[in-house]
Homo-oligomer: 207 residues x 2
């Protein structure tokens, strides 16, 4: 029972992941992936996060299954970090039932037949959600700018890795609009959908 | 509690609507709309259905709030049928809680703040579903052709009426992929999501 959560920045996707995992009694992997990669590579979590959220995946795609070309190797070890990230995600998933937030886990774990959920919301609600957890050096304007930037990178990375579009319904089993929604209250229905979904996939697999 | 169901042809959207309505103990309106329009206009249900599923909505859009122009009036009463359809949908929704399948009801009933669900599936599963209920004069090839045609018309009509794209997540609150799914078994989770959703919207409205 592997559940992946794709999400728009500010939609509460991380909260959906954490609460869903808690409700189902399974681990949720999010920042844990970054920390594990950092440990294995002997570099800082901040640096891993920076690479993981940057545009370097675009370079990575053409390396899957190929030998690396010189310009890619110049990405300050970025490729190593991304390969390590994929390994970490696969290893975590192999350990048992879990929820994984972001990092194109739906694609990386495709062979394990995960349930793929996408979480999104309207702009107004995403801004509101971000403002509630805003750091001192942030303001509404900087948040909108960051929101656009991060979703753009996520979309570009996803497209580069998979050819599929970010948030396109074909890639997911369930898309949830969290606008004007208290996430906690919808977790039981998502969990119930997930449990039924896995039951049906198991039935197909054993037929 | 008004729930609208948009759907791809063959995805089982109608079944989702019927079963969800039954589960919630509210009426489901689908063919009933066609029949009511036919009765009010004094024409056959077949003709209403033909108009409702044809490209004429494209002409209709520019008439909303405007006087009709000559070419539109030549659509063999098509405009009258579509105006009547909108009236029927609004009247049905005013009578109380219900589920409405198709017919851009999410847009027509926008002011009533409905929960909008979109149901879709992969091509293989949609074909399989259609083959199960195939008429004698149909075959796989004719079904694929019909599937493409109807979804194209639905998309074009929706876009003409609303400017929004068919199946685009922004228009909906929940999108459900019914590929390899026994619809009956996911109805309780959809119903539970719907009930929580309406509770939250009521909370916002009474604040």
């Amino acid at each position: 029972m592997i559940i992946t959560i794709g999400r728009e920045f500010g939609s509460g996707g991380r909260e959906v992941g954490k609460r869903l995992a808690e409700y189902l009694g399974v681990p949720c992997y999010d920042k844990e992936i970054i920390n594990e990669v950092a440990k294995l590579q002997g570099i800082s979590a901040e640096y891993v996060e920076k690479i993981s959220d940057s545009d370097v995946r675009v370079f990575y795609q053409s390396t899957v299954g190929h030998s690396f070309s010189a310009p890619m190797m110049q990405q300050n070890g970025a490729i190593d970090v991304l390969i390590q990230e994929q390994k970490v995600i696969k290893n975590l998933a192999k350990q048992g039932d879990c929820v994984i937030v972001g990092r194109c886990a739906d694609i990386i774990l495709k062979d394990m037949n995960p349930l793929n959920i996408f979480v999104y919301a309207n702009q107004e609600c995403k801004i509101k959600r971000c403002l509630e957890r805003m750091r001192e050096d942030e303001n509404e304007k900087s948040i909108i700018k960051q929101m656009k930037k991060i979703d753009k990178i996520r979309a570009r990375n996803r497209n580069a890795l998979t050819g599929s579009k970010f948030g396109e319904r074909e890639s997911y089993h369930l898309l949830i609009n969290t606008s004007n929604i208290d996430i906690k209250s919808i977790i039981p229905s998502i969990a119930s959908f997930a449990l039924e979904w896995f039951k049906m996939q198991n039935n197909i697999a054993t037929k």
